[in-house]
């Protein structure tokens, strides 16, 4: 029973200037692509949904997961997963510990370790648990970042230019991987990108944020 991610009359302004206005429901397993040139507030929209909007922005409207209003919840309790352009693996933790950071707490030590080993198998990195993330290739890092996010069992997925940092061949591969997992877990996906290719690969509806910076 997967839920939709609903953005109801979301408006984000800064110093009275409108940055983002969006009203959309993203069904489970569907990808909504938000496009626009850089600097129009695409990432700001994701911050608002994730619950980490900087205090100098003003925002209104509701963010719901199914019937649950998550607008006022702290980021840790929203059940939102996010992937950035950079992998942002924590450099002080091993690959396994990065995954353990994402895995919900509970379970015995052995049990948790087994789940992490399984997760590593899933992304083709069997036996990488003790590796330093800095020694991984770009594609490997991207897969670990994806798996770390999935292990936190999110109910929706945000992609913030998630594929922009990868070179062309890798880009296609990681994009397919992420979309496959999202479909498999029936996650609603909100993707912001400036790249038309990403939007085409997603196959879902596209919103364009070209009308930003109009005064209210």
């Amino acid at each position: 029973m997967a839920d939709a991610l609903i953005l109801q009359n979301v408006r984000i302004t800064r110093n009275e200037a409108l940055l983002v206005a969006i009203n959309h429901s993203i069904a489970a397993g569907e990808v909504l692509t938000v496009m626009g040139p850089s600097g129009v507030g695409k990432s700001t929209l994701l911050s608002y949904v994730a619950g980490t909007l900087a205090p100098d922005f003003e925002a209104s409207g509701m963010v719901c997961l199914g019937a649950t209003d998550i607008t006022a919840l702290p980021p840790a309790r929203r059940g939102i997963g996010i992937l950035f352009q950079d992998d942002l693996l924590f450099p002080h933790l091993s690959v396994g510990s990065n995954l353990a950071f994402g895995l919900g707490s509970g379970g015995t030590r052995a049990d948790r370790r087994r789940r992490i080993d399984d997760a590593l198998c899933e992304i083709g990195l069997k036996g990488y648990a003790n590796r330093d993330p800095a020694t991984l290739s770009g594609g490997q890092k991207a897969r670990v970042a994806l798996m770390r996010m999935l292990l936190s069992q999110p109910r929706a997925l945000l992609l913030d230019e998630a594929f922009s940092g990868l070179d062309a061949s890798l880009r296609h591969h990681i994009r397919t991987l992420v979309f496959d997992w999202a479909r498999r877990m029936a996650l609603p996906v909100l993707m912001v990108t400036h790249d038309l290719e990403d939007a085409e690969a997603a196959g879902g509806p596209v919103e364009r944020l070209a009308t930003a910076n109009l005064s209210v």
Partner: protein
């Protein structure tokens, strides 16, 4: 909904939706400001009242101008005031000149990296140890005259007054040697924001020499960034006490040294004169800062004319080697001085003009070890407490700055520098008088709190940039993965910033270890640290004792730095991403 109401609701939602921070965090900036400026304010107040004859602790409660008249009756006043002004202005100009010339001629080259590596650790060497080292080097019976004796034929020390000369030249040289590393490192960190390489590329493409090009294009941008550190050097050089006791003249001494002597006079009425002199010292520093500011305008105007003339730099071939020589000289002076201290600490019989003692042994160390151990314990206790408090307060401030999204303003930066700009001798006597009337002088906690005043600015300056440079998206990732506010802090942010944090802790520790006047005055002479013990030995002239204490003092600041370098290297030995 009414637009305003809508905005309020929206704003509330934005607030709630942010990572919720513990509410106590909001109090920390106020608390830090109080810890930093409270003692300064109280001290200035405690100086002004006695300067006009009001000192209830000594049974004096009638306001009068008598203390000020007594001060002006002191025959040494003119010399003391002149000494304060010349030491400050000359030492600051020379330090800034050396740093500028070295950077202009050599920044980005291999010799410069070598010099930088030499100077960086010297930044933490306490003022007193630097001064003793220099004294052992240049004194008539010092190392330099011993090494020169085969040429000069000296078989006993020449009859010259080099150390403690009445013009304060050695004192000035000591301050220059100590302040060059400080200004150099402050300038280096400012250079990062000045876009120096591109400015230089343009200048050199237009045919300008290295130094002329640097002075015309990079220096103006850099100076705007290092103005406050330069002011700190000026204020500090004018009012320094420990270096002046060791290297400065004694009859009459510099104004600040005289203030301390009056403060420790058993005759309590002398404190009134001391307070009046402290006010004068404050006014002098203020006047010198105003003069410096005025000179900035003059130099800027002349600089513009110079730029418009379009000279490409004929003097560069001469200035370039000069800059490197001067930079090296100031580094070598400190290093050779430290080496001299170390040799004296192990020296047995050492006749003039022998370059080395006849025997080296641990005898001196054995003799002074009990005293060293006691003083080290007190030193470490005070330094650890001051460092810990400063780290907690500054981390709290930075975190609350990060939450509120408001960066450090120019006014905030002035507040951070304020405790370093008000001369110590202008407010510490008043603070001691105040604590005396509260019965809290001689207390260890009071010493810790006054050290905190001087430690906090350096912790702010050292930790601020790396803290702000941390990629906030790491925090977002951790938060959406389920980490709480403290979880993000302890599991992600602090471990990732381990290196700057332990380096900052070492800086803070070194600042605390080096404090002489605050320890002496607020501790009422009862709190004995390595620094107060070392400076107290200055008048006795026992070089072996001084050597032992000065080396111990230097080790006390170097060991934390070694720890700060090795700790992250060991803890993160398998984490390449944390070794920038």
């Amino acid at each position: 909904m009414h637009p305003l109401a809508q905005r309020i609701v929206a704003f509330g939602a934005a607030r709630v939706s942010g990572l919720s921070a513990p509410s106590a965090l909001g109090l920390i900036p106020a608390l830090t400001l109080l810890a930093m400026l409270g003692p300064v304010g109280a001290g200035v107040l405690g100086t002004v009242l006695p300067a006009f004859g009001y000192l209830p602790a000594a049974g004096l409660s009638t306001l009068s101008f008598d203390p000020i008249i007594a001060l002006f009756d002191w025959p040494g006043l003119t010399a003391a005031v002149r000494l304060s002004a010349t030491t400050g202005l000359v030492a600051t100009s020379l330090s800034l000149g050396i740093v500028t010339l070295t950077l202009a001629g050599w920044h980005g080259t291999r010799p410069f990296r070598m010099l930088e590596r030499l100077l960086s650790p010297l930044l933490s060497v306490p003022h007193a140890a630097t001064a003793f080292g220099l004294a052992f080097l240049v004194a008539p019976s010092g190392w330099l005259s011993r090494l020169a004796s085969p040429l000069t034929g000296w078989d006993r020390p020449p009859d010259l007054l080099i150390v403690q000369d009445r013009w304060g030249l050695t004192l000035t040289a000591g301050m220059v040697a100590k302040e060059v590393p400080f200004l150099l490192l402050m300038t280096l960190s400012a250079l990062g924001q000045a876009d120096a390489p591109r400015r230089m590329r343009v200048a050199q493409a237009l045919g300008y020499g290295r130094i002329t090009g640097w002075l015309k294009t990079v220096f103006p941008a850099v100076y705007a960034q290092i103005r406050l550190p330069v002011y700190v050097v000026l204020a500090y050089s004018m009012s320094v006490v420990d270096v002046a006791i060791i290297l400065g003249p004694s009859t009459p001494p510099s104004l600040s040294v005289q203030i301390v002597q009056w403060m420790s006079d058993p005759d309590l009425s002398r404190r009134l004169t001391a307070a009046a002199a402290a006010l004068l010292q404050g006014a002098l520093v203020f006047a010198a800062l105003a003069l410096w500011r005025a000179m900035e305008f003059v130099v800027a105007r002349l600089g513009c004319l110079w730029v418009e003339r379009g000279n490409r730099g004929v003097a560069d071939p001469v200035l370039r080697p000069l800059g490197l020589v001067l930079g090296l000289l100031s580094a070598l002076a400190i290093l050779a001085g430290l080496l001299g201290l170390a040799v004296w600490s192990f020296a047995g019989f050492w006749a003039f003009p022998d370059a080395m003692p006849q025997e080296l042994s641990f005898r001196n160390w054995n003799r002074y070890l009990p005293g060293i151990l006691t003083a080290s314990g007190t030193t470490a206790l005070i330094a650890i407490l001051a460092t810990g408090l400063a780290l907690v307060l500054v981390l709290g401030c930075l975190e609350s700055e990060y939450r509120s999204g408001r960066g450090l303003t120019q006014r905030g930066l002035w507040l951070i520098y304020l405790p370093l700009l008000v001369p110590q001798t202008a407010f510490l006597p008043g603070l001691q008088t105040l604590l005396l009337s509260l019965g809290a002088d001689k207390a260890l906690w009071a010493v810790v709190l006054v050290h905190l005043v001087f430690v906090l600015p350096y912790v702010f300056l050292s930790l601020g940039d790396p803290w702000r440079a941390w990629d906030r998206r790491n925090g977002t990732v951790a938060a959406v993965l389920g980490a709480s506010f403290w979880g993000v802090m302890w599991r992600v942010r602090l471990p990732m910033l381990l290196r700057p944090i332990v380096t900052t802790a070492a800086v803070a520790f070194a600042v605390s270890v080096g404090q002489y006047l605050p320890t002496l005055l607020v501790g009422g002479g009862r709190v004995q640290t390595l620094t107060t013990e070392a400076v107290a030995l200055a008048s006795g002239g026992d070089r072996r004792a001084i050597g032992v204490y000065a080396v111990a003092q230097t080790l006390a600041v170097l060991l934390p730095f070694i720890l700060a370098l090795s700790l992250p290297a060991i803890i993160w030995r398998n984490r390449r991403g944390l070794h920038g």
